[in-house]
Amino acid sequence: MKIHEYQAKDLLRAAGVPVLAGRVARTPEEAAAAFTALGTPVCAVKAQIHAGGRGKGQVIGSTQRGVELAKTADDAARIAKGLLGNTLVTIQTGPEGQVVRQVFVESGCAIDRELYCAVLVDRRVGSPVLIASTAGGMDIEEVAHNTPELILSEPFDPDRGLAGYQARLLAAKLGLPTASWRHAEAFFRKLCAAFVSLDASLLEINPLVLTKDGALVALDAKMTFDDNALFRHKDVTALRDEAEEEPAETRAAAAGLSYVKLNGTIGCLVNGAGLAMSTMDLVKYHGGQPANFLDVGGGADVNQVTEAFRIILSDPHVKAILVNIFGGIMRCTTIATAIVEASKTVGFTVPLVVRLEGTEVEEGKKILANSGTAIITADGLTDAAKKVVAAANAA
């Protein structure tokens, strides 16, 4: 789950990580009032969307950038007006962009240097790591690719946290003046503690700023959370902004399904993430375009699978549906019953190709055959993919 920058900064402030004062605004008037209330000579007005690259991003149909500096309250109102309700395109949003519904007005600071740091779980080490680099404000993946020696990394135990010496080690390697080391130690250790206590999956500060008076400040903050741990963070779950999410994906998540919308015409309903990805690969291999990734998982019941069909059919671009099930935990009888249910309650308006294998496969096929539901049965992967591509092309 993702949250906005201003929400991440609220969480960081509460965890004792230094951030600048700021206020969220949903109208130009609120932005002007925020500028006045903050009382600093310069403020940044920043679009709040769930995507990075805002500084270089641009609003469709104007020259408005996603982040701009304001020197007066009128400035702040003008920038907010240029952003609010408009669509911002950044390298992370895709060409369709994202609508800006709120801006963050943040006081300025005197910047000496821009750095980078992030906390995430490193699979190879098997623990969380703090990553830091002198290459602040840049695309960090590019830095990692071109100049890996500029990426510093310190693993830490989630319960013991980052040790003081590890923070100082990074401070020294980043070339921070010794007078700033105690700031760096506090900053890095509290950042790591916040990552752990909130069950974040990524906490990225880019840029991390060394101010002219030697302090460290998180100038930007990007935070995502481990969906599997949200059950123990009701306060974090409350920060979810559904307006930023694809409606069908939100609906699927509520039903316990894993769904990602894509741009093709062939709806896919599969069990297991690996098989679901492979099914998409296979559809493309045979000349079709998948409309979605949908993993019903192992434990789904008839109601959930029926909901999955509803979600797929709510996409007007879908011209045919491929059901590919290799039952393990998931029983073929559950899927077959759901297909029959969905045909009664939802009604299939497009051709349905079904490939069943695995647990209770014979019983599942029997349910389908006896129901009289109009389906195209397939034997094996290739057969299924060819039939669904043909059906979509004929539509």
């Binding site: 992370q92 779980v121 699979r123 190879r124 098997g126 623990s127 969380p128 695309d139 993946e141 590019e142 990692a144 690719h145 135990d157 989630p158 319960d159 752990v196 069950d199 999956s201 481990d226 969906d227 599997n228 741990a229 059950f231 123990r232 894993s258 990602v260 894509l262 599969v270 069990n271 297991g272 993430a273 690996g274 098989l275 679901a276 990805m277 492979s278 099914t279 998409m280 690969d281 296979l282 493309k284 291999y285 998948p290 990734f293 993993d295 998982g297 192992g298 434990g299 290799f326 039952g327 393990g328 935990i329 294998e357 695995g358 647990t359 094996g380 992967l381 290739t382 993919a385």
Partner: protein, 292 residues
């Protein structure tokens, strides 16, 4: 021979009194696995599908001589269940549970690494040595005894591959589901090491997916240490970047963890590539033929 499990493996189920735990304990029993008991705290004295239930893993081990466990405990308590199994000295811990918080696993891993236990999973289908022992949720009938070792990060994709092998007349020595989470107990390299040392395994089929660098590391290991024919498939070649595809592991961003980077590393190690998921069994056959 085989790896990890055989007809002498004595298995308990943690979470046996739950609906899913009971269903799959029965499935394993019917396959012929030596299931010897189960554990659910507070339910000692009950029986499930004819097996005794114990309060703790230590009691279950003492009473039954169990040396393997299959975990179906719900995600919020699953990390604790793994620690309990390791604490009781169970040699093989197979965690089926999906949805364990990643930091819970980060707390578990150092304990597992410092112990003599081997952890498979979590979020995996389990381990099967066809005709001898099935621990997990895979449908038994698709497997057949033989000499291909199979390993994968995805459950249902493993079934697909095994089914293709069986239909092509190639049985399996052991099939291992590593699990789809970012932190799992055993890696491709761990299992490659076991397959390479197992005289009954003549060839190896692996299924990877986008995200992370486990496949690249496996490829480098194969190049250096594996003399048996290897074939591989990478799921997610057509997945759009930056989107999470169900598995927490399956996310790609920038140039890291892409299918192309993985395929290049695998090819470079002399591994036969399955071009589509329908080609996995055939790719194994090609790899075996190529070695004569």
């Amino acid at each position: 021979m085989s790896i990890l499990v055989n007809r002498d493996t004595r298995v308990i189920c943690q979470g046996i009194t739950g609906k899913v735990g009971e269903f799959h304990t029965r499935g394993c029993l019917e396959y012929g696995t030596r299931m010897v008991g189960g554990v659910t705290p507070g339910k000692a004295g009950e029986t499930v599908v004819g097996l005794p239930v114990f309060n703790t893993v230590a009691e279950a081990r003492d009473a039954t001589g169990a040396n393997a466990t299959m975990i179906f405990v719900p995600p919020a308590f699953a990390a604790d269940a793994i620690l309990e199994a390791v604490g009781a000295g169970i040699e093989l811990v197979i965690a089926i549970t999906e949805g364990i918080p990643v930091l819970d696993m980060a707390r578990v891993m150092p304990v597992v690494n410092a112990s003599k236990s081997r952890l498979i999973g979590p979020n995996c289908p389990g381990v099967i040595t066809p005709g001898q022992c099935k621990i997990g949720i895979m449908p038994g009938y698709i497997h057949t005894p033989g000499h291909v070792g199979v390993m994968s990060r995805s459950g249902t994709l493993t079934y697909e591959a095994v089914w293709q092998l069986t239909q092509l007349g190639h049985g399996q020595s052991t099939c291992v589901g590593l699990g789809g989470d970012p932190l799992v107990g055993s890696s491709f390299i761990d299992i490659l090491t076991l397959f390479q040392a197992d005289p009954d395994t003549h060839a190896i089929l692996m299924m990877g997916e986008i995200g992370g660098s486990a496949e690249e590391e496996a490829a480098a290991f194969v190049k250096q240490h594996v003399t048996k024919p290897v074939a591989a498939f990478i799921a997610g070649r057509t997945a759009p970047p930056g989107k999470r595809m169900g598995h927490a592991g399956a996310i790609i961003s920038g140039g890291k963890g892409t299918a192309e980077a993985k395929l290049e590393a695998l090819r470079d190690a002399g591994i036969e590539i399955a071009e589509s998921p329908a080609d996995m069994g055939q790719a194994m056959v090609r790899a075996i033929k190529r070695r004569g």
